[in-house]
């Protein structure tokens, strides 16, 4: 196929149009009547293109993208599982997409039932009392969850609890969410095995601690086996436990965060519940809480009385975190997924995802350095090549994988290791796909010794090759007009 790299603006020609609008039957009402001082005089710079050109343009640039439907996407911590097509069909039903967010509850009972039943299903899976589906993403759920934590202490008059404990292996959003919530972050160290050091945790637990944020299994794919002791210690010190649901997938059917002692959690519907990542969104980050925190959930809160569903604003709610009630279209997909799998298949998700991760780990551990041995959960981390003598880095390996038709794993995270390669296959990859991936990973490891230059200069076959990111950051070009005005440095 031919290389295509045009921008839509480069197809523009004055007089072309891509829309179809009716004639104005009421021409006597003209917006020209708006006072001139309130009218726009600035050009918008929008392109003028015809409909077929728009279709071909976006089809062509889609060919420059790698999606989960293109190939294996072992991106650790992102749970890139298959996005079922029935989900898309259901989410596009006009009986739902045409609903205005403020139309009376009586006229939106079907949609409200979806919202309510999904929140109840998540509560059952999480072992918690209730869920809000309003947060838009995982990080947004973290923020809403920490607000609930803070509100709980404030409502009890316990105002000195301003600190949140975060493991040093945590996702960057954990400390950032705490900051946005106006709380201070205290890091707790990990043991050499990558789990929370309970002895290091104990002295941190005083009357200024609001709670702890944990991911279990953690970002190394290791289950925190001392979770019950940790929960006991944190609760005894008056704190709450927050569960970052980024790694919930392996626990489906195996255990529930609520049963482990967690008080608040978020779930990434775009990870565990198969909704598409969409190139970075829209996601959905529902937040669940234990019974004593239900009243603090953000507005609007879903209620059911008899057979009737409706939203209310609660007086002790943290407030609102969304303009309306979240990414409803994403909820439709997740609910479809839960109903499609049903209880029998949901319980297999965790097993199959965990087995797949361990299979890849065991198949490659002679070739790549495996810092944490033993059974992992849904993902695991290599610390670069086993033989690093030729200087081939994790970045080089990631780029070389692109040449072989794979998306790269997550790299340089967690930061506990210098050369992290984090691999998560999920439960929807076949043995053959994994075997082919394993063979390619071995081939790259051998190539790194025999022909390191080819690996260090990869990728070679992608639409573009390694990019000059330094210049992009030093001299930002963020709009088409900046690109037009850009004069190459000589």
């Amino acid at each position: 196929m031919k290389q295509y790299d045009k921008l839509i603006f480069e197809l523009s020609k004055k007089g072309r149009m891509g829309y179809s609008l009716p004639e104005n039957k009421l021409p006597e009402y003209s917006f020209k009547a708006i006072p001139v001082a309130l009218q726009r005089s600035l050009e918008t710079g929008l392109p003028e293109v015809s409909e077929p050109e728009v279709v071909r343009h976006y089809t062509n640039i889609s060919n420059r993208n790698f999606g989960l439907d293109t190939g294996f996407y072992p991106l650790g911590s992102c749970t890139m599982k298959y996005n079922p097509k029935i989900n898309e069909e259901i989410a596009a039903l006009p009986a739902f997409t045409s609903l205005h967010p403020l139309q009376p509850a009586e006229t939106a009972q079907g949609a409200l039932e979806v919202y309510y039943n999904l929140s109840q299903s998540l509560a059952e899976i999480a072992g918690l009392a209730a869920f809000t589906l309003n947060p838009f993403a995982g990080a947004h759920g973290e923020l809403a969850g920490l607000m609930i934590m803070k509100q709980y202490h404030m409502k009890r008059g316990d105002l000195k609890r301003t600190k949140v404990i975060v493991p040093n292996s945590a996702h960057g959003t954990n400390p950032a969410s705490a900051m946005v919530c106006g709380m201070d972050v205290v890091e707790v160290q990990s043991t050499p095995e990558g789990t929370i050091d309970v002895e290091a945790l104990k002295p941190l637990l005083d009357e200024t601690i609001a709670g702890i944020m944990m991911t279990n299994p953690n970002t190394l794919g290791i289950f925190e086996t001392e979770i019950l002791e940790i929960a006991g210690l944190v609760h005894a010190a008056g704190g709450l436990l927050y569960y970052d649901g980024a790694n919930l997938n392996p626990l489906l059917g195996q255990c529930r965060p609520g049963d482990m002692g967690f008080d608040i959690m978020h779930i990434n519907l775009h990870k565990t519940f198969s909704t598409p990542h969409g190139g970075g969104g829209p996601g959905s980050g529902p937040v669940g809480v234990a019974q004593r925190l239900v009243e603090y959930l953000p507005n609007p809160q879903i209620k059911k009385e008899g057979d009737r569903y409706f939203f209310v604003n609660g007086k002790d709610a943290i407030g609102s975190v969304s303009g309306f009630a979240g990414n409803f279209g994403v909820m439709m997909r997740a609910y479809t997924y839960i109903l499609s799998l049903g209880k029998e298949n949901l319980r297999q998700v965790g097993e199959l995802a965990t087995l797949s991760a361990n299979y890849i780990k065991e198949s490659l551990k002679e070739y790549y350095e495996l810092p944490i041995k033993g059974i992992c959960k849904h993902e695991f981390v290599f610390d670069g090549l086993a033989d690093k003598s030729t200087g081939v880095t994790t970045l080089d390996i990631a780029k070389r994988l692109l040449d072989h038709g794979y998306h790269a794993p997550t790299i340089y995270f967690p930061m506990l290791f210098h050369q992290s390669i984090m691999i998560e296959p999920t439960e929807t990859e076949s043995l053959e796909t994994m075997d082919e991936f394993i063979e390619v990973m071995k081939k790259i490891a051998i190539e790194a010794i025999e022909d390191p230059q080819t690996v260090k200069t990869a990728p070679h076959t992608t639409p573009v090759r390694r990019l000059d990111e330094t210049t992009a950051a030093r001299k930002p070009i963020l709009r088409y007009v900046d690109l037009l005005n850009d004069t190459p440095e000589s």
């Binding site: 006072p35 993208n65 039903l93 995982g138 190139g279 970075g280 303009g323 049903g342 209880k343 709009r479």
Partner: protein, 447 residues
């Protein structure tokens, strides 16, 4: 095995053997037995695709389709057929954030186009890769202003900003420890004198206003940027990007930050989401912008390419020192509005506004002609307006719904003293015949 799981029993046996264990259960041996789930979830059994279709068709029947004369932050504009089709290209929708730019140019390029187009609409110099929605974008704009001001910790927000946006700003501010103070409204618009008085008190980092405002009014913000900048604060303008095709842009008003929701750019109502927030700013605030930003660059062969840039601002680098915790965007929805703006172009968007304006002003005249309605404010508006009525608001709404119409939004639950007010909206999707039908039903109610 379920159709989503490719593993056969033989595959599972092969994998167990490689891992060196005898059963699946051993994969979870380290989980304390007291918390192991030894039963199925209390959830329904698996449904087949046919059953799924029947299930949701039945649920859909519990919703009532209505002809929409409501706005208040969610607008029923026309969506060209092209958009939904392109959005189903799974190269787009099944991809992740473009961390590997060599195989993510499709996403990176449309985000660059999105940033370019939104910057064009707002008139601002830079735009990020999108935000969750208009309300959270406004809250993040507040954070930018406070971060820029360094030691000032107060933000003023006009009473004419949408109450739902205000609620999110209030929540974010409360927990972050920022003080929010309301600027009074007067005849449906921001009371400039009140703003100036509050600015004079000092400690103000930013001022938030909107265009069109909650009542659909086009406010005259002459002199605002001078007053706000005179107090070394930033002017933040929440704006409907569709309306910006014809109404004065945030840049023309002298705003430092523009924010809002892309929903009016032809996005389905979808019961409130997913929509797409946007956040634009002047050039000198670029390093204060939260979230993803895409920049142009080139590859080692000199080919033009796009990449996530200025990442030193973000949470995965700065962790607790970051100014925002956002680590995604509404990428696919940004693609939606990008295709929309490409199709509509400057002329199409002008026409959308012209048709909406004509319909809305016709509806107002017809409502007034019934004798039961008067304009709530004597102010210029585009597609949305508030009216007072002598009719019983609740009864009128029920009557309209019975006839398949979503009439105006009752303002009583948002604003004290407006219990007899309705907020109507007319977009280019509403025909003259539909407006006439609405009036006929209202006249019946008056009998």
């Amino acid at each position: 095995m379920h159709n989503y799981f490719p593993q056969t029993d033989a595959d599972i046996a092969t994998m167990l053997q490689r891992v060196g264990i005898g059963s699946m259960d051993e994969l979870f041996a380290e989980i304390p037995e007291s918390v192991r789930l030894r039963k199925d979830y209390d959830l329904p059994s698996s449904l087949s695709e046919t059953e799924i279709r029947e299930f949701f068709a039945a649920l859909g029947d519990k919703n009532k389709p209505l002809t929409c004369f409501a706005g208040a932050g969610a607008y029923d504009h026309y969506a060209p057929a092209v958009i939904a089709q392109i959005l189903l290209r799974s190269e787009f929708y099944t991809s992740y954030t473009p961390y590997q730019p060599e195989i993510g140019q499709g996403t990176l390029q449309y985000i660059f186009e999105f940033q370019s187009m939104i910057s064009g609409m707002t008139g601002m110099e830079c735009t990020n890769a999108s935000m969750y929605d208009g309300a959270t974008a406004t809250a993040e704009a507040m954070f930018m202003a406070v971060a820029q001001a360094k030691k000032k910790n107060k933000v003023l927000i006009s009473a004419t900003v949408h109450p739902n946006v205000r609620a999110v700003v209030d929540t974010y501010a409360l927990f972050k420890g920022i003080e929010v103070s309301e600027i009074a409204e007067k005849n449906g618009v921001t009371d400039k004198a009140d703003m100036e008085a509050q600015l004079a008190v000092g400690d103000v980092a930013g001022v938030i206003v909107s265009t069109p405002n909650f009542y659909g009014i086009l406010e005259d913000y002459s002199g605002y940027s001078e007053a706000v900048h005179g107090s070394k604060a930033l002017l933040i303008m929440h704006a409907d990007p569709s309306a910006l095709a014809v109404v004065k842009s945030p840049a023309e008003w002298g705003a430092d930050i523009a924010c809002g929701d892309g929903q009016p750019l032809g996005m389905p109502l979808n019961f409130g989401g997913p929509y797409v927030g946007y956040l634009s700013a002047t050039k000198d605030l670029v390093r204060k912008l939260p979230g993803r930003i895409v920049g142009a660059t080139h590859d080692v062969d000199g080919k033009r390419a796009f990449v996530l840039t200025l990442q030193a601002r973000e949470q995965h680098i700065r962790r607790e020192k970051a100014n925002s915790n956002i680590c995604s965007n509404q990428s696919l929805m940004a693609l939606y509005v990008t295709i929309y703006m490409a199709l509509m172009g400057p002329e199409g968007l002008k026409k959308v506004n012209e048709l909406s304006y004509s319909g809305a002003h016709y509806l107002l005249d017809e409502l007034v002609a019934t004798g039961a309605f008067t304009p709530a404010f004597d102010q210029p508006f585009l597609k949305e307006f508030a009216v007072r009525t002598t009719l019983d608001v609740k009864k009128l709404q029920s009557k309209l719904i019975k006839k398949g119409m979503l009439g105006g939004i009752a303002l009583g639950s948002y604003k004290k003293g407006m219990e007899d007010c309705l907020l109507f909206c007319v977009t280019e999707k509403r025909s003259k015949a539909q407006i006439d039908q609405l009036i006929t039903i209202i006249k019946e109610e008056m009998l």
